[in-house]
């Protein structure tokens, strides 16, 4: 079928959505155009391309993009990774450092600022009707690009609101992660993990603010961890592994207190006052470095913000307190790659990056006992939603208590399914907008 606006409107009610939202390929294609084509998508971090000519490729849905620190003015540019001649993907997947980008097909060569530098000579160029200096032949940049504390975002729609307007006060989570560096700066470090999820991208994004699942989904990991901790001989130091896995087994009351704040345009975080990251043992040298930079009072304030996951809808989720981010790369309606990156807090002792990496390995790796149980439920959702027995997915918990504040944000108790309702409210707004995406700025 071809979805009309009315058809799409029927798929989303205030507190439940139709299963086709997760399973229909046509909906996925429309999402890539109307959701991912119109929102601010995380490209990468500036520290991934520190030197002129450094580049990396990434995908927005099926489209390959190229992020590069251009040699013309040292700014970061993002282009569609496609030769403007016959359409070949210009740069193979990956990263590197380039003087210029030369297409392997007919040697069209582009400067790192996207300008077409050279095409092979032909004797009759002048009379051929082909004008290589036409700016249409330059690499097409993303319609909007903005860099917030080193986080590079692009928007493929020139008509979309700017980055600050789009993310609003949810940006305070990035602010807090940056402030956790004694020098106020982050640097990508420790490599990337790519974890393939055979599920719809929205199942992953929703789960990041799903406070009601750990007690069931992660019960086995927690019991494993607790039973091992109990067997440790008296006086033996509790391994850091236990400190990290343990809080996933907190009580329903704890996760209830780990309340939500949602913002317009689908963004949200959980862990407003407390979170599973609140009680890690302090690293003494780090606290000292922070207090030297910020003073005692401000340091205390920075550490008191121990938010769990913040969702920058739809492509980025961050854990400021642990300096790890997960990036959502949809591949098809039932396949999504999740990339995990970790940060070094500049000016902090090496111990901090080690803890971040330990966390990431324990929770975000394809070998994780926590991540595998999460993926198991996402895949069961993907499989279960093929059932014709029920058409609807429920997200009704605490639905009668969604009271917006003056700034448009809403706070809710931890058990609320408000973050999902908030995401779908925006999703519906985007998906029923049939205006053409304005590709050129």
């Amino acid at each position: 079928m071809s979805y009309s606006v009315e058809d799409i409107e029927k798929l989303v009610e205030p507190a439940r959505v139709h299963r086709k939202v997760y399973t229909d390929e046509e909906i996925f294609d429309l999402e890539m155009e109307r959701v991912w084509g119109r929102t601010w998508i995380f490209a990468g971090h500036a520290s991934e391309v520190p030197n002129a000519g450094d580049y990396k490729t990434f995908n927005i849905g099926s489209q390959s993009m190229l992020m590069v620190r251009n040699r013309t003015n040292d700014d970061i540019s993002v282009f569609y990774n496609r030769c403007t001649h016959k359409g070949a993907k210009l740069v193979g997947d990956g990263k590197g450092c380039a003087k210029a980008f030369r297409c392997p097909y007919h040697a069209w060569t582009f400067a790192t600022d996207g300008k077409l530098l050279a095409t092979p000579p032909t004797k009759t160029l002048e009379t051929s009707g082909f004008a290589p200096d036409d700016p249409e032949y330059n690499l097409r940049p993303a319609a909007q690009i903005d860099v917030y504390h080193g986080f590079v975002f692009v928007n493929l729609d020139a008509n979309a609101p700017n980055l600050n307007e789009y993310f609003g006060d949810s940006l305070t989570s990035i602010d807090n992660m940056v402030e956790r560096s004694p020098e106020g700066e982050l640097e990508i470090a420790g490599g990337v993990l790519r974890y393939r999820h055979d599920c719809n991208w929205k199942s992953f994004v929703e789960n990041l603010n799903d406070n009601m699942h750990p007690m069931a989904t992660h019960q086995s990991a927690i019991e494993a961890c607790q039973s091992y901790a109990k067997e440790l001989p008296e006086g033996q130091e509790v391994p850091e592994t236990v400190h990290i896995l343990g809080p996933f087994g907190s009580s329903y009351d704890f996760f209830e207190d780990m309340s939500h704040v949602v913002f317009p345009n689908g963004h949200s975080y959980s862990g407003n006052k407390v979170s599973i990251h609140s009680a890690y043992p302090p690293v003494p040298d780090y606290v000292e470095a922070m207090e030297t930079s910020y003073g005692k009072e401000k340091t205390k304030e920075i550490f008191s913000c121990a938010r769990h996951n913040t969702v920058y809808y739809p492509s980025l989720t961050i854990k400021g307190a642990i300096q790890a981010i997960r990036v959502v790369r949809p591949i098809s309606v039932n396949c999504t790659d999740i990339e995990t990156y970790t940060f070094r807090l500049k000016g902090a002792p090496d111990e901090m990056l080690k803890r971040t990496l330990l966390y990431s390995r324990l929770i975000n790796s394809p070998s994780s006992i926590v991540g595998a149980d999460d993926l198991e439920v996402y895949e069961r959702v993907q499989s279960g939603l093929r059932s014709q027995g029920h058409d609807w997915v429920s997200m009704e918990r605490q639905k009668d208590n969604d009271e917006p504040q003056a700034d448009g944000s809403i706070e809710a108790t931890g058990s609320s399914e408000l973050p999902f309702r908030n995401q779908y409210k925006y999703w519906l707004q985007l998906m029923t907008n049939t205006d053409t995406v304005k590709i050129k700025a």
């Binding site: 490599g191 790519r194 069931a216 494993a224 091992y228 090496d350 390995r361 070998s367 993926l375 198991e376």
Partner: protein, 163 residues
């Protein structure tokens, strides 16, 4: 005069077959006990990765994490482990790359292919293994098993157990 004789390859191979056989039969208790108390299992995420601590890895398990993983397998509510895992390792090109006459320690390298089956899906993991073996009471124990997958840096689904 050296204290230890360089072991023959047959002896090394017998140990490796025993070790991977325990994985294939999912005898994780016995497998973990092959490691020294400070031993670890490492699966890097990039080729030629030098550091398991300051760089992310797919696996980097000390004995603590191995013990927790074992208990996770045994837990009736670990839903990602509801089905039996079957695997089959084939090892080849086994080489003793270094030998310490003073301690009897061995550095061993081999190629492997491991077919793993879980709930209707079969995965092929392949690459090289590096072992640091140490002698404790005359028997080999593992100080480190390093597994380099050929496709270490590809996106992977859940890797259900040790390879």
């Amino acid at each position: 005069m050296s204290q230890y004789q360089r072991p023959g390859l047959k002896k090394i191979e017998a140990f490796l077959y025993h070790e991977t056989g325990l994985l294939d039969r999912m005898q994780l208790r016995e497998w973990i006990d092959l490691f020294t108390p400070t031993g670890d299992y490492w699966m890097p995420v990039t080729p030629d990765q030098e550091d398991p601590v300051n760089h992310i890895s797919i696996f980097y398990d000390d004995r603590d994490l191995m013990e927790i993983r074992l208990r996770h397998f045994d837990n009736p509510r670990s839903h990602s482990k509801d089905f039996t895992i079957r695997s089959s390792h084939v090892l080849g090109n086994v080489q003793l790359t270094d030998f310490d006459e003073g301690t009897g320690d061995c550095q061993v390298k081999c190629n492997f292919q491991c077919v793993m089956y879980y709930r209707d899906q079969q995965q092929l993991y392949a690459g090289t293994c590096d072992y640091h073996l140490v002698l404790i009471d005359g028997r080999y124990h593992i100080q480190r098993k390093r597994v380099d997958l050929i496709n270490c840096d590809a996106p992977h689904g859940s890797i259900q157990t040790y390879v």
